[in-house]
């Protein structure tokens, strides 16, 4: 299937988000793909607060089955979450479990005023009642395939499909 060019989706998303940015708005990107995306979007939106990066490893709901799958990174949120409008950024929205974990973790840092979910691609297949407020593209990816964001050596982002889990 033909995938959209991530580099072209980026400015589209930025344009959609810019008018909604308030003075205190902050952004948090989810490792790894969401973090890459957020690192590109953050300067495009001219946000005051530095970028936050989050690893949801300790909040996943599949720990009992999978254990700690990969080496978790350190979550860094360099601003106060309390009362803040947040843009939560991830690369692909699928079952919704990652976002649920991210929200659980976020609330351990404080009580935000609002959270808006920003994703590059929404591939459907939701297993939880979670939706993205802003999605770069809606894609129909066959079950059993993985949609991933890739970053080339020169920083260029692209969407790719990997068949088989």
């Amino acid at each position: 299937m033909k995938l959209p060019d991530a580099e072209q989706l980026l400015p589209k998303l930025a344009a959609e988000l810019k008018p909604l940015v308030k003075p205190g708005t902050a952004m948090i990107g989810l490792y790894t793909g969401g973090a890459w995306l957020a690192e590109r979007l953050h300067p495009m939106l001219g946000l005051e607060q530095p970028l936050g990066l989050m690893d949801i490893a300790f909040y996943r709901d599949d720990y009992s089955k999978q254990g700690l799958k990969h080496d978790p990174k350190r979550t860094k949120i360099p601003f106060d979450v309390e009362g803040r409008d947040l843009l939560l950024v991830d690369d692909v929205l699928y079952t919704g479990r990652t976002v649920r974990a991210a929200m659980n973790e976020l609330f351990d840092y404080g009580r935000p005023r609002s959270i808006a979910l920003v994703v590059l691609a929404d591939r459907g297949g939701r297993q939880l009642p979670i939706e993205a407020q802003h999605a770069g593209a809606k894609l129909d990816v066959p079950e059993g395939s993985r949609l991933r964001l890739k970053r080339a050596a020169d920083g260029r982002l692209s969407l790719e499909i990997e068949s088989g889990r």
């Binding site: 690893d55 490893a57 300790f58 909040y59 720990y63 009992s64 999978q66 254990g67 700690l68 080496d71 978790p72 990174k73 350190r74 979550t75 860094k76 659980n104 973790e105 351990d108 840092y109």
Partner: protein, 317 residues
Amino acid sequence: MAANPQLNAHGELQHLLSIEGLPREILTQILDTAEPFAGVTEREVKKVPLLRGKSVFNVFFENSTRTRTTFEIAAKRLSADVINLNVAVSSTSKGESLIDTVYNLSAMHADIFVIRHGSSGAPYLIARHVKPHEHVINAGDGRHAHPTQGLLDLYTIRHYKKDFARLTVAIVGDVLHSRVARSLIHGLTTLGAPEVRVIGPQTLLPAGVEALGVRVFHDMRAGLKDCDVIVMLRVQNERMNGALLPSAQEFFKSYGLTAEKLALARPDAIVMHPGPMNRGVEIDSSVADGPHSVILPQVTYGIAVRMAVMSIVAGNN
């Protein structure tokens, strides 16, 4: 018993019994995983839900408030339920065998047993008798191993020195009786530290210690020369009036770390101590409280490392 009793069929960490025999990748995984846990301990909500619903039993056959407390804190920060069993004063004194104690605890549905025992090898015996989904973490067995202490020492060294491949590390004091020293030596050699030294009198160095991959020094000044890391071991009171050491004063004279001896090491050398310290016996107060000392941070890292160990083993079923 050919297979490594610590690893499951997939080569993943099932029990943590000793650093010896663990592949480099697993040691690195533990250190890497401890990193974000250190971040958790620094924020306001110090808990993550990872081990929610799981039970951690601290089964201490040998008293230790310090170690038990850090395991308890680590387990609670993972949202696990913690039960403390001071077995030293309960069932085994009534004559119940070690194995029977373990079976009884197993019947209470534990997920993780943290064991401290006075006899080397006890955790191995216990690990042979627990159920497949139960995990054993060795909190110190006799003079054999104290792997979580070794790991937090490695984490501390990595934090300050970054690359093991260039380090000269000296371990000073009663290596003969020290499980901490043995664990650290295995960790350093596995992670590629090119020069590991042990410094002490003949009476406090075990037979064949060179076979562990260390260089032996009896002269502390010679041994400290150009060191990047100095680890001072605790000398227990019982050792000091017998046939091993004449007195604390004598020990301090030859093997105590003073500012003057410290100056022989590299200018940016760090000083570590697994604690509790005997000021004026192993280490001079000016050094313990001085700029080279990382003794207090060691304690903080201890919680993160234990959180890492527990979350890794509990996820490998």
